[in-house]
């Protein structure tokens, strides 16, 4: 971390003030507890940031790629149709508290949605959103971002943050991030004895380095620390992997629900549906799951009629098809949500161990 004017610090107790100041001009989304579960929700007075919570149930991807969003609206009249567009998002917003894995998840989505043909709805949200990441506190036994080369100690985004005891350091990484921090530079702190975001000094940076070092030590001890991508990716043989007999056993107890897909920060499949009142219609897209029996259903039936085929599709996509399409990048970020949430305790780590390199056993 370079010592320059771009690293600021804020008292943890002043975070509310920070959100409040930002909220004057835009919505600030952060992990908020609701009936026992954390998910991203807009900040409002009374909502506070919980630095202890590692992951929201759903990742932050929904802020850029909502679970459902209207595409067009139309109305039937006699035998004709009157079509009206739905404008893409045009308001600025901030996402606060994103972890390293989820930030990498945005990159996975970017490759899909921002390359030609560009998804205008996604792009509008990406253009208008500013990402503030916070380095994770205590990683869980389900974490394995290291497997995909993610450095949890450099979470990224437009601004990345580190908690050093009473303070949080904020480092702007992009112009957008810099501008955001600049936008609140005139705000004073709660005590009234200085700025809300003073520049960080050497001591602060040293403290941050210590926090990171401690974090690295924990990361090494994680049960899945040794999990590798060996046997997958661009260089693996597609058909060999596809035809592996273990897929059936691996998927035998898959219920075909969409839990893994919907909590995943990188799954990007969607279906297009209509809300049809008989006269007015909204055409919208919704997240879809390749685990669903009606995924890519066509008139002749499903191209993947059996659950094991759909299960294989999901992991082949993450570990083989996506890397083939995007220069070797994997579309898993090791956040571990699927490890925690699958009702049948199936997950990508089991797949990688079973089908991957010898080191994984």
């Amino acid at each position: 971390m370079a010592v320059n004017g771009s690293v600021k610090k804020i008292r943890m107790s002043d975070l509310d003030r920070f959100f409040s100041a930002l909220s004057l001009t835009q919505k600030v989304y952060l992990p908020v507890e609701k009936a026992g579960q954390y998910d991203y929700a807009p900040w409002e007075p009374g909502v506070s940031y919980d630095p202890e919570e590692l992951h929201t149930v759903k990742s932050a991807k929904g802020l850029f790629f909502p679970q459902s969003e209207d595409l067009i609206k139309y109305r039937r009249e006699g035998l004709s149709l009157a079509i009206g567009p739905v404008a893409p998002e045009d308001e600025e917003f901030v996402v606060f508290g994103v972890r390293a894995c989820d930030v990498k998840g945005f990159e996975v989505l970017d490759r899909v949605f921002l390359t030609d043909p560009v998804d205008t709805y996604y792009k509008a949200r990406r253009d208008h959103g500013t990402v503030i990441s916070v380095m994770c506190p205590k990683p869980e036994e389900t974490c394995f971002c290291g497997t995909f080369g993610i450095e949890a100690e450099a979470p990224g985004g437009d601004v990345q943050c580190f908690i050093t005891g009473e303070d949080m350091l904020m480092e702007a990484l992009t112009e957008k991030g810099e501008a955001l921090l600049e936008s609140v530079s005139g705000v004073g702190n709660t005590n009234g004895d200085g700025a809300l975001l003073p520049a960080a000094d050497e001591t602060d940076l040293k403290a941050a380095e210590e926090v990171k070092e401690a974090h690295r030590e924990i990361m090494k001890k994680l049960p899945l620390a040794g999990l590798t991508t060996e046997g997958f990716g661009k260089d693996a043989d597609l058909l060999t992997l596809f035809d592996r007999p273990e897929w059936k056993e691996l998927s035998a107890t898959c219920l075909g629900c969409g839990t893994c897909t919907f909590v995943c920060p990188t799954c990007q499949c969607y279906d297009i549906r209509e809300y049809d009142t008989g006269r007015d219609i909204r055409r919208f897209r919704v997240w879809d799951s390749c685990m669903y029996s009606d995924f890519t259903m066509m008139a002749h039936g499903s191209p993947r009629p059996e659950q094991f085929q759909r299960f294989r599709q999901r992991f082949m996509h993450k570990l083989k098809y996506y890397p083939d399409n995007y220069e070797g990048a994997f579309s898993c970020v090791g956040c571990g949500r699927c490890l925690k949430k699958c009702p049948s305790s199936l997950n990508i780590a089991k797949v990688m161990k079973k089908l991957g390199g010898a080191d994984n056993d």
Partner: protein, 661 residues
């Protein structure tokens, strides 16, 4: 692509006065799918129908909506008009803008708005209509009557008279039923067997009637017009076509301990017996529980004395399989068991008898030769007490909650007959109410009370017990509000009647529904009293509810006319708005089968090909001839596999949506 036409009727001023017909037409023109809309003074008139027919042809309409009076009035008219123009008649929907709109609203704005919504809903529905075709099924020209009492006999006679074949299945060895056991009938006091016997003989003689006695229905399959029935003909050990009914065997039979069922067990009969003198067929039967030969292998006396060589100890049950177009239930009744009413001491005192037992005692062919004698000592009684409503109108759970209907009248009859024949006998009747609706009934009762001095006491009997060789009856007189204690030589219990216990089993086989008292449910209590809700099943006599002989006979005739009406047809047209099961969605869970009141749903296990995924599994099948289209199955089906044609889930939801727009 759907091309819908909307026709808005003025009904003179009936609709047009409160609905802006032109506005409805204008709105109709912009509804999704609508290509044509027009109004007219009287759509149901020939000119109006021609407008519809012409528009169907000219605009290639695929469906039409008529905004008019209730579909209960003219749906059929407009369906016919559509069919005449080459459109499937089920592509017609009616928006009821008269009864449900113009006639009840005074404000024209509100009426017009509502008419628009009703039109919109009908358009939304017709967009999803599919052409339906009424199916056809054959009619087997033969009827089955289950039960050979007066109800069954009369039904069979009437059906036979119309020229149709009819089989009577009777579980006992003879037809005749309960009526054969009765002595005299109220209110005319003519002799029961004198009026019954000719009917029995006629049934036997009819070329169109086949009597299958000592037999029971074993299995029923099929549906209206085409039932398949398996009948078990129990072994009677006497060849029916050989026996002459001479009765010699009865005299020689050494086993004489069997209780005489015909005489309500008041005396005994031999193991081989003819139930009663006028039995039809007049053929002996061996009671295998009593026969020494069948139980020990020794004896064989009857075989030796039978000159006709009719005895066959090796006889086995036989099965008859037959097809029928219609089935009539005439399973009748029995008196309930009086022994569960301890207070009347029926099971401990021989001189406490039931009314049906009294019938036998009073009957010349009965155990006492028609002389009123006390069963305990054969002495002449001097005082008889009748107790009414034994087990009838009883909500305590021991008896029946309903009124057995016939008891008031037969008790008046018994009382009158006793007083007439034995003026020295005191007769008392304890009653809750005396119910005498019916032609000459009340006059009859009053004759008993007034002319014959029968002592009617309004009140119930609390206890009957034996003391010093006679009975003591303790009751209450509600009019004087005093306890009454009477000495009696005999006590007669007017026991409630209940459906014959075989009725439940038979009804289950026929999928005829049964009420909580085991009476068979009629299709409609007022309008279809002789039909079961299950098509092709008809009801005759007491199996449907308590009734006396004239009522039974008229119902028997009514059931027969319904059967004849059915058998006259060569083909049955089935309502096409019936349930339909999508085998790709069916789970085979049987929920639909269980709620179907018509037994229209069955199951089949076969190979299902779901877009290339093949699997052998159990799925529901709807018999369209049986299904009446109620839709009960569609709601219990969680997967939505079961849907109702003409009222499909999507159609109804489209109506809901259109109304809520």
């Amino acid at each position: 692509m759907r091309r819908i036409g909307v026709f808005v009727c003025w009904c003179g001023s009936n609709i047009a006065a409160t609905v802006d017909v032109a506005a409805v037409v204008a709105d109709a023109k912009v509804q999704p799918g609508v290509v044509f809309a027009q109004d007219y003074q009287y759509m149901c008139s020939e000119a109006g129908q021609n407008i519809i027919k012409d528009a169907i042809k000219e605009h290639q309409l695929t469906g039409i909506v008529v905004c008019s009076c209730s579909p209960r009035m003219h749906e059929a008219t407009f369906r016919k008009a559509a069919a005449a123009a080459g459109l499937n008649p089920y592509m017609v929907e009616i928006a009821n803008v008269r009864e449900h709109c113009s006639w009840i609203h005074k404000d024209k704005e509100a009426g017009t708005e509502k008419a628009r919504v009703l039109m919109r809903a009908a358009v939304a529905k017709v967009m999803l209509n599919v052409p339906l075709k009424a199916g056809e099924s054959r009619v087997v020209k033969r009827a089955l009557v289950i039960g050979g009492g007066i109800a069954g006999i009369q039904t069979a006679l009437d059906i036979a008279d119309a020229g149709f074949q009819v089989d009577i299945v009777e579980k006992n060895a003879t037809i005749g039923g309960r009526m054969a056991q009765l002595d005299k009938t109220f209110p005319t006091l003519d002799c029961s067997s004198c009026i019954l016997t000719p009917k029995m003989v006629e049934a036997k003689a009819s070329e169109n009637i086949r009597l299958i006695t000592y037999a029971e229905v074993e299995e029923v399959g099929g549906f209206v017009g085409d039932f398949k029935v398996k009948i078990r003909k129990k072994a009677r050990f006497v060849k029916e076509d050989v026996c002459t009914g001479c009765g010699l065997c009865m005299a020689k039979c050494p086993s004489k301990k069997g209780l005489n069922e015909f005489n309500m067990g008041l005396n005994n009969r031999p193991a081989i017996y003819i139930p009663f003198a006028q039995a039809i067929p007049n053929v002996a039967v061996i009671d295998k529980t009593q026969c020494i030969k069948l139980n020990t292998g020794k004896c064989g006396l009857c075989e030796k004395v039978c000159t006709a060589k009719a005895i066959d100890y090796t006889m086995q049950d036989e099965f008859i399989e037959e097809e029928y177009g219609a089935i009539v239930m005439a399973t009748g009744f029995r008196p309930i068991d009086a022994s569960k009413f301890d207070e009347y001491s029926y099971s401990t005192c021989k001189d406490v008898v039931t009314s049906l037992e009294l019938e036998r005692i009073m009957n010349a062919a009965g155990p006492t030769g028609g002389v009123l004698l006390r069963p305990s000592d054969g002495k002449h009684p001097h005082s008889v007490v009748f107790v009414q409503c034994v087990g009838s109108r009883d909500v305590s759970g021991r008896g029946k909650p309903y009124c057995s209907k016939i008891c008031c009248m037969y008790t008046a009859k018994h009382a009158m007959l006793i007083r007439d024949k034995y003026p020295d006998v005191d007769v008392h009747v304890f009653y809750i109410d005396v119910r005498t609706p019916g032609k000459n009934f009340d006059e009859f009762y009053r004759r008993a009370a007034e002319q014959y001095d029968v002592d009617y006491i309004k009140g119930q009997v609390g206890k009957v017990w034996e003391e010093d060789g006679h009975l003591v009856v303790r009751g209450v007189d509600l009019i004087s509000n005093e306890q009454v204690i009477l000495n009696a030589d005999m006590v007669v219990l007017a026991t409630a009647i209940e459906p014959d216990p075989t009725a439940r089993k038979v009804a289950n086989m026929l999928t005829a529904s049964i009420d909580t008292n085991d009476f068979i449910t009629e299709a409609h209590p007022k309008l279809r009293p002789v039909e079961s809700p299950t098509a092709g099943i008809f009801l005759s006599g007491v199996c449907q509810g308590p009734k006396d002989i004239p009522e039974t006979v008229s119902q028997a005739g009514a059931a027969a006319s319904k059967v004849i009406g059915l058998l006259c047809k060569d083909k049955l047209t089935t309502n096409p708005c019936v349930a339909r099961s999508d085998e790709l969605l069916c789970n085979g869970c049987s929920c639909c089968e269980k709620v179907c009141p018509y037994g229209a749903i069955s199951y089949d296990t076969h190979l299902i090909n779901d877009h290339g995924v093949k699997e052998t599994r159990r799925v529901a099948l709807v018999n369209e001839a049986l299904c009446q289209g109620c839709g009960a199955c569609t709601v219990v089906c969680p997967s939505g596999a079961m849907d109702l044609k003409g009222f499909s889930n999507k159609q109804i939801m489209a109506e809901v949506e259109a109304i809520c727009l």
